[in-house]
């Protein structure tokens, strides 16, 4: 029933060789990052409670969890606006905190820029204080995202704020990209531009990415694996492809209510007389087990998209002790 994090087995090893297929050489490569037993408490709320995460160089990881699971807090701890009560964020060897920050690009869920600034001022502010600021790349980002430099930060709509946050966070071509709900409120065109830009950064820089999002379809496109977070802890780490290929929903008719579901179960609930099981792993084996104990059971397989697969995992986490 429990899903132990399977960091080492499930991590997709980045293959530097694959870039050789079509990418220009001389890439900086992504930053690795290790979070060890992070703990942070706000009053009685444990925002982080023994959070472990290992980001390999060039890896792209999605963070999925209910609201308040600790995702935003994790980001704030990594960039240093919150200080941990316990645990450690291990930076790549030889990097000071400031050097680390100069390679990190953080796009927060709400735009952080002084309310008196115009978009242009905010960009100039970052340009002055960010030693690795890449003005050509920044100009390109602005053009792609359609930034109106004269617009005041406080007047920007939600989508425009998200776009500006993107430019501010990524204008120095960071090798570790932290995205907190990056696509909330943006229009379809911006959505595509952002996805393409992130893909490009993955290709050109090999940037490591950590993306928290409730837009699970976007995570499917962008990540190598998805980490499920609940109450400040990592519950499970699953390769993104396996979320779809190895998670199946079964509608089982003709079993009594008190029936104990088989193992490999992600989540179960009852709809009328049918048990709705979400399982992971080999479907046939599970079906076999159900039929051997309940020969009269009728089983329907229902294919799942990543959205349902993740949602059922989140539902499943709630019943965990």
């Amino acid at each position: 029933m429990s899903h132990a994090p399977k960091e080492t087995e499930t991590r997709l090893e980045p293959t530097p060789a694959f870039f050789a297929g079509g990418l220009a050489g001389g890439l900086a490569g992504g930053l690795a990052l290790t979070c060890k037993a992070l703990a942070l408490r706000f009053g009685r709320v444990h925002a982080l409670a023994g959070f472990d995460l290992n980001l390999a160089e060039g890896e792209s990881v999605g963070l999925v969890g209910r609201n308040g699971a600790g995702k935003s807090t994790l980001f704030r701890c990594i960039v240093g606006t919150e200080v941990l009560d316990a645990g450690a964020i291990e930076l790549p060897a030889g990097l000071s905190r400031v050097e680390f920050l100069s390679r990190v690009g953080f796009v927060p869920d709400t735009l952080s820029a002084y309310d008196w600034m115009s978009a242009g001022d905010a960009i100039a502010y970052v340009a002055a204080l960010q030693p690795r600021f890449d003005s050509a790349w920044c100009a390109q980002l602005q053009r792609l995202l359609g930034i109106d430099r004269s617009a005041k930060v406080r007047d920007l709509s939600r989508g425009m704020q998200a776009r500006l946050a993107f430019v501010l966070g990524l204008s120095h071509r960071p090798s570790l990209v932290l995205l907190d709900e990056p696509l909330l409120g943006v229009d379809a065109v911006t959505h595509d531009v952002v996805l393409e830009t992130l893909a490009r950064m993955r290709c050109e820089i090999g940037a490591t990415m950590l993306i928290a999002s409730h837009q699970l379809g976007d995570l499917a496109r962008l990540t190598d694996r998805v980490v499920f977070v609940d109450r400040g802890k990592v519950i499970e780490s699953v390769p993104t492809d396996e979320l779809v290929t190895k998670t199946t929903r079964l509608h089982v008719h003709g079993v009594p209510r008190g029936w104990v579901p088989p193992p490999n179960l992600v989540h179960t609930r009852w709809l009328d007389d049918a048990a709705v099981l979400t399982i992971q792993g080999d479907v046939a084996v599970v079906e076999q087990r159900i039929l051997s104990s309940h020969p009269n059971a009728r089983i329907e397989r229902v294919p799942l998209s990543i959205h349902e697969a993740c949602a059922d995992r989140l539902r499943g986490m709630e019943v965990l002790p």
């Binding site: 870039f19 297929g21 990418l23 993955r202 290709c203 699970l216 993104t240 492809d241 779809v244 990543i306």
Partner: protein, 135 residues
């Protein structure tokens, strides 16, 4: 050249499989002929807005199926005589869809003849929308 397919992030198919299927279908259709350079991981990733690792995984699958091979200094090249192979592996994909369709038909209590008719109608319909498609 733009990619002749799209990926759907909320489909029940994983992205890498959608890409592999798309590329395979393109080879089968002859969009990428033998000796042609397959679009690079980077260009596919940027165009579709997906993780390059995922693209790599899709191409690795084609490589495993011997549809493409790496060529030093150029990239992935479509192998000779692969169109039939692509088609053969395409057969399986089609078959999978047909099985799904047959299941639907039997659930709706459709006769085998009626099902055959529908298959033919589907072929005709796809031929008119894809004039350059498979003969």
């Amino acid at each position: 050249m733009p990619l002749p397919f799209l990926v759907h992030s909320s489909a029940a198919q994983p992205i890498f499989r959608q890409i592999a299927d798309g590329l395979r279908a393109s080879i089968a259709r002859g969009t990428y002929a033998a000796g042609d350079l397959l679009p690079s991981v980077r260009s596919i990733a940027e165009e579709l807005g997906v993780n390059p690792n995922t693209v790599h995984k899709a191409i690795a699958e084609l490589e495993r199926e011997k549809l493409v091979e790496p060529e030093r200094g150029r990239g992935m090249v479509v192998r000779g005589g692969t169109r039939a192979m692509a088609r053969a592996s395409g057969d399986e994909a089609v078959l999978a869809h047909l099985i799904e369709a047959a299941r639907l038909a039997s659930a709706a209590g459709m006769s085998a003849d009626k099902f055959d008719q529908l298959v033919r109608r589907a072929q005709r319909a796809s031929a008119t929308t894809q004039p350059g498609g498979a003969p």
